[in-house]
Amino acid sequence: MPVVPLRKMAKGQKGVIHKVNASGELGRRIRDMGLVPGTPFQVQGRAPLKDPVAIRVRDFTLSLRNSEADYIEVEVEEIL
C-alpha cells in the first residue's frame, strides 16, 4: 500500500497510521491522542484557511496543523 504524509490526504480519504516520525513533546502529544501505528482514521475536513486539518480517529475528532501532519506517515488505498 502506498504511504503518504497526512498533509497530502484529501477530505474524506481514509488511511491507517504507518509511522509517527516525531519525538519529544510533539511526538508525545500525538501519541496521547491515540495516533499510533495501525490506527485507522478518516480526514474529516479542513479549517477555512486549509489549515489545520480535522481527522476522525478512535470515535473523536482531532485537529492538527499541516506542519504536524507532515510527521505522520499514512498507508492509503491509493494516492489522490
Binding site: 501519541r31 496521547d32 477555512p48 489545520p52 473523536f60 475528532t61 504536524e68
Partner: protein
C-alpha cells in the same frame, strides 16, 4: 464530621468527558474553588454524604495523559502521589472509549484503586455503540458503572461503589503490562536497581519510576537526580542504551514503543465482547453535520461573526430592564442617605465615596451576568474549540497558537471575561515565548471590568449604536492584541511555534446547572471584588480628592465673589433665588441671569477644590501629556484609579463629577452628565474607550502576569508598554478625528 470519617476521592478524566458535570452533580453547591498552592491551576473540591460517610472529592484538571507535558498533567499526578486519595473515580466518555482508557491505563500503572464511571452511555447508544460494562469490569478488574452525568442516572450506584472501595481501602497495586521484548527486560533491570536503592520509593512505585525514566519524564528525572545522582545517572545511561538500540533497529523511541503497547493493551481489552457496534464506523454523526456548516470555508467565519455579534445583542438587550431597575434603586438610596445625614465630611464620604463608588459598579452586574452566561454557553457547547480550530492559521501568522484564542476569550475577547483567568488560561500553551506573548496581550481584551467604562461612555455618546460600537471595540482590541503580539514575537520574543493538536468535542447542549454554576461563580468573584477592593479604592480616592482641604482664604474669595454678584439684589429677591434651588419655580429673567452667575462661581469653586486635592494635582500635572488625546485632569484622576481595577474609572468619574456638581441641578446620571459637559464629545469618548481598553492591566492582573511569566520584569513591562501603546493610539484617534472633523 472529622477527617477520619471522610475519604478523599480524586476525580480524574479527559477534557470534555463530562467530568465537571459529574462533579457538579455529585457535590451540588457544596464545592469550593481555589488554587493549588504556588501555582494557579484551579483546584475544585467538594463533598457529599453517602450512607452517613463523607466523600471529599478533588476534581483533577482534565488531562489526556499523566506525563509531565503540561502543568495540568503534573498537578493531576502530584495530587495522586502527594495527597494519596483512597480512590480515583475515573470518568470515561463511553462514546470515545479507546482514547479515554489511555488515561485509565496510566492510573493503573500508578496503582491507585480506581472506580470507572462510564459516562454518556446514552450518547454512545445513540451512535450504535453498546458497551458491556460487566465484561469490561471483569477484564480490567475494577468496578465499572454506566451512567449519564447530565441527568444524574447511575450517580448513586457510582457513589456506592466508590464508598465500598474506599472502605475496603486496598493497597495500591501497580498494573504490570508488557511493553514488548525491547523494553520489558530493561524495565525489570531498572526496577530491581530502584528497589535495592529505595530510590524515590517513598513516593512512587518502583516500576513506574523506571517507566518514567524510559519516557524521559523531566520532572521524575529531576527529582531522581536530586535524590540519588549516581543511580539516576545509571538509569539514564540504561535508557540511552535502549533508545540507541531502538533507533538503530526500529527507528523509533522508547516512549513511542510504550505508548504503542498501552494502546495495544486497550485494543486487546476491547476485542471480545466489550463493545458492540451496530453501524459502520464512518457514519456521519449530528455533530459532524453541524461542523460541515459551522466550520465551512465561507460560512464558518461569517457565522462566527454573527455569533459574537448575537452575544452582545443578547447581553445588552436582556440586561436593560434589570440594569435600569438597579440603577434607579441605587439613585433613590443615595438620595435617601443624602437627605438623612447632616452635611459635612461624613455625608460626603458615604454618598460620594461609598454609595456612588460601589453603586456604579453594582449597576453593571446584570450585563456582566448575561455576558458570562453567553460565554459559558459557547464554551460548554463546544463552539469555542471550533473557533480555535478556524482561527489557528490566523493566530500563527501573529506568532501565537489556536489556544491563545481561549486565553483571549476568557480574558475578554468576547467582552466580559477577566484578564486574571485569561492570563492563567495561557498555561495550556507550552512554548514559553508564545505563552508570554499571549500573557502580555490578553490584557488588551475587554474584560468585565472595562465593560462598565464602555457602557458609561456608550450611553453618553453612542446610545443609538450600542451593539455596533461594542462590535467595533471588540475588533479593535483583537487587532491591537494580534499586531502587538506579532511585534513582540518578532523582536524580544522570537522563537519557534509549539504543537497544536486540539480535540473538537461533539456539540452538546449545555446543562442548565452547569451554566448557572459557571455564571454565578464568575459574577460572585466580580461582586466580591466590588465589595472589597473597589470599596477600599473608592474610599482612598475620595480621600485623595478631598485632602488637603481647600484653604480658607480661597474659599472666602469665592464667597466674596458671590456676595458681590448678590449685592445688587434686595433681601426678597435673594430669598427667591435661593428658593428656586429647591422649588424649581421659574424666576424672572433678570434674577435667573444673576442666579446662573452665582452657579458659575459655585462650579468654579468646586472645580478649584478638587484640583487643589492630591488627586487633582496629579491629574493636572498629567494634562501636559494627556491634552494630546483630549483628556482633562478629571479623566486622568479616574485613569489613575483604574490601575486598581478598571471599574474604578467609572466610580472615580462619578465622584469627580458629584464633587463638581452644583446642588441645585437636577440629579443627572453620570453618562447624562458627560454627554452635556462641554469638554466632552464623542471623539474624546472614543479616545477614552480605546485608552481604557489598552492601558496598563489592573494590579491584580499585573500580579498574575508576574507569577505566570515567572519574572517581575514582565509585570513592569506590561504596565509601561501597554500604557505607551494606549497613549499612542488614543492620540492617533483624537488628533486624526479632529483633523477629519469626526465626532467633535
Amino acid at each position: 464530621m472529622n477527617d477520619s470519617q471522610s475519604y478523599l476521592i480524586a476525580l480524574a478524566g479527559n477534557p470534555n468527558c463530562g467530568k465537571t458535570t459529574l462533579f457538579n452533580a455529585i457535590t451540588g453547591a457544596r464545592q469550593h474553588v481555589g488554587n493549588y498552592p504556588g501555582i494557579t491551576v484551579e483546584k475544585k473540591e467538594g463533598y457529599c454524604n453517602v450512607n452517613g460517610r463523607q466523600l471529599r472529592f478533588v476534581d483533577l484538571p482534565g488531562t489526556y495523559s499523566l506525563t509531565a507535558y503540561s502543568l495540568e498533567e503534573l498537578v493531576a499526578r502530584n495530587v495522586l502521589v502527594m495527597e494519596k486519595p483512597r480512590v480515583a473515580v475515573n470518568i470515561i466518555d463511553a462514546s470515545n472509549l479507546e482514547r479515554n482508557l489511555y488515561l485509565t491505563i496510566q492510573l493503573f500503572e500508578m496503582g491507585i484503586p480506581v472506580v470507572i464511571a462510564l459516562n454518556m452511555v446514552d450518547v454512545a447508544e445513540g451512535r450504535g455503540i453498546e458497551i458491556n460494562a460487566d465484561e469490561l469490569s471483569r477484564k480490567i478488574g475494577v468496578p465499572v458503572t454506566k451512567m449519564v452525568a447530565r441527568s444524574g442516572r447511575g450517580k448513586d450506584e457510582l457513589l456506592e461503589e466508590t464508598l465500598a472501595l474506599a472502605e475496603k481501602n486496598p493497597e495500591w497495586s501497580p498494573l504490570n503490562i508488557s511493553y514488548g521484548s525491547d523494553i520489558d527486560p530493561v524495565l525489570t533491570e531498572m526496577e530491581s536497581d530502584i528497589i535495592a536503592a529505595k530510590f524515590l520509593t517513598d513516593l512512587y512505585p518502583p516500576r513506574w519510576t523506571a517507566l518514567k525514566y524510559l519516557e524521559s519524564d523531566e520532572e521524575i528525572i529531576k527529582k531522581g537526580a536530586a535524590a540519588d545522582g549516581g543511580l539516576s545517572a545509571k538509569l539514564e545511561k540504561t535508557v540511552a542504551r535502549v533508545t540507541d538500540h531502538l533507533r538503530k533497529t526500529l527507528d523509533t523511541y522508547p516512549e513511542a514503543v510504550i505508548a504503542d503497547h498501552r494502546y495495544g493493551f486497550i485494543s486487546a481489552l476491547l476485542k471480545s465482547g466489550v463493545v458492540r457496534r451496530k453501524h459502520e464506523t464512518d457514519r456521519l454523526y449530528l455533530s459532524d453535520k453541524i461542523d460541515q456548516f459551522l466550520t465551512h470555508r465561507f460560512l464558518g467565519p461569517v457565522v462566527m461573526c454573527l455569533i459574537l455579534y448575537g452575544l452582545y445583542y443578547f447581553a445588552f438587550t436582556y440586561s436593560k430592564i434589570p440594569t435600569d431597575l438597579l440603577k434607579s434603586a441605587i439613585a433613590s438610596f443615595s438620595g435617601f442617605v443624602e437627605g438623612s445625614l447632616p452635611p459635612g465630611p461624613l455625608r460626603s464620604l458615604v454618598v460620594s465615596g461609598v454609595i456612588n463608588g460601589v453603586g456604579g459598579i453594582l449597576g453593571f452586574v446584570p450585563i456582566i451576568l448575561f455576558m458570562f452566561l453567553g460565554i459559558a454557553f459557547l464554551e460548554d457547547s463546544g463552539y469555542l474549540a471550533r473557533a480555535a480550530f478556524m482561527l489557528d492559521r490566523v493566530f500563527r501568522i501573529f506568532g501565537l497558537h489556536g489556544s491563545s484564542f481561549m486565553a483571549y476569550v476568557v480574558g475578554g475577547g468576547i467582552a466580559g471575561g477577566c484578564g486574571v483567568p485569561g492570563v492563567m488560561a495561557t498555561r495550556t500553551l507550552r512554548s514559553p515565548k508564545e505563552r508570554i506573548a499571549t500573557i502580555l496581550t490578553v490584557p488588551f481584551m475587554n474584560c468585565g471590568a472595562k465593560l462598565p467604562v464602555f457602557a458609561l461612555l456608550i450611553a453618553a455618546f453612542f446610545a443609538e449604536h450600542e451593539a455596533r460600537i461594542m462590535f467595533i471595540i471588540t475588533v479593535l482590541s483583537w487587532g491591537t492584541a494580534l499586531v502587538i503580539s506579532k511585534v513582540l514575537r518578532s523582536t524580544i520574543l522570537r522563537g519557534p511555534t509549539s504543537p497544536f493538536l486540539l480535540e473538537l468535542p461533539p456539540y452538546r447542549l449545555p446543562t442548565l446547572r452547569g451554566l448557572v454554576i459557571h455564571t454565578t461563580e464568575r459574577a460572585w468573584l466580580y461582586l466580591r471584588k466590588a465589595g472589597t477592593t473597589i470599596l477600599g479604592i473608592s474610599i482612598i480616592l475620595w480621600a485623595l480628592m478631598n485632602f488637603p482641604q481647600f484653604p480658607n482664604e480661597r474659599k472666602e474669595a469665592f464667597e466674596a465673589q458671590r456676595l458681590r454678584i448678590a449685592s445688587v439684589l434686595t433681601e426678597e429677591q435673594r430669598a427667591a433665588v435661593l428658593a428656586e434651588a429647591k422649588s424649581g419655580d421659574a424666576l424672572p429673567p433678570e434674577l435667573a441671569a444673576i442666579r446662573s452667575q452665582i452657579l458659575a462661581v459655585d462650579h468654579a469653586e468646586a472645580q478649584a477644590t478638587l484640583r487643589y486635592s492630591i488627586a487633582g494635582r496629579i491629574g493636572t500635572g498629567l494634562e501636559h501629556l494627556t491634552q494630546f488625546c483630549g483628556f482633562d485632569w478629571r479623566t486622568n484622576v479616574a485613569l489613575l484609579g483604574g490601575f486598581a481595577a478598571k471599574e474604578v474609572i467609572v466610580s472615580t468619574l462619578g465622584t469627580a463629577y458629584s464633587l463638581g456638581r452644583v446642588e441645585s441641578e437636577e440629579s443627572l446620571t453620570l453618562s447624562e452628565h458627560l454627554a452635556r459637559d462641554p469638554s466632552w464629545n464623542p471623539l474624546v469618548g472614543f479616545a477614552l474607550i480605546v485608552f481604557c481598553m489598552l492601558y496598563s492591566p489592573c494590579f491584580v492582573a499585573v500580579a498574575c502576569i508576574v507569577k505566570e511569566a515567572g519574572s517581575w520584569k514582565w509585570g513592569v513591562f506590561s504596565i509601561l508598554f501597554n500604557t505607551a501603546v494606549a497613549f499612542l493610539l488614543a492620540i492617533l484617534i483624537y488628533q486624526g478625528g479632529r483633523i477629519l472633523g469626526i465626532g467633535v
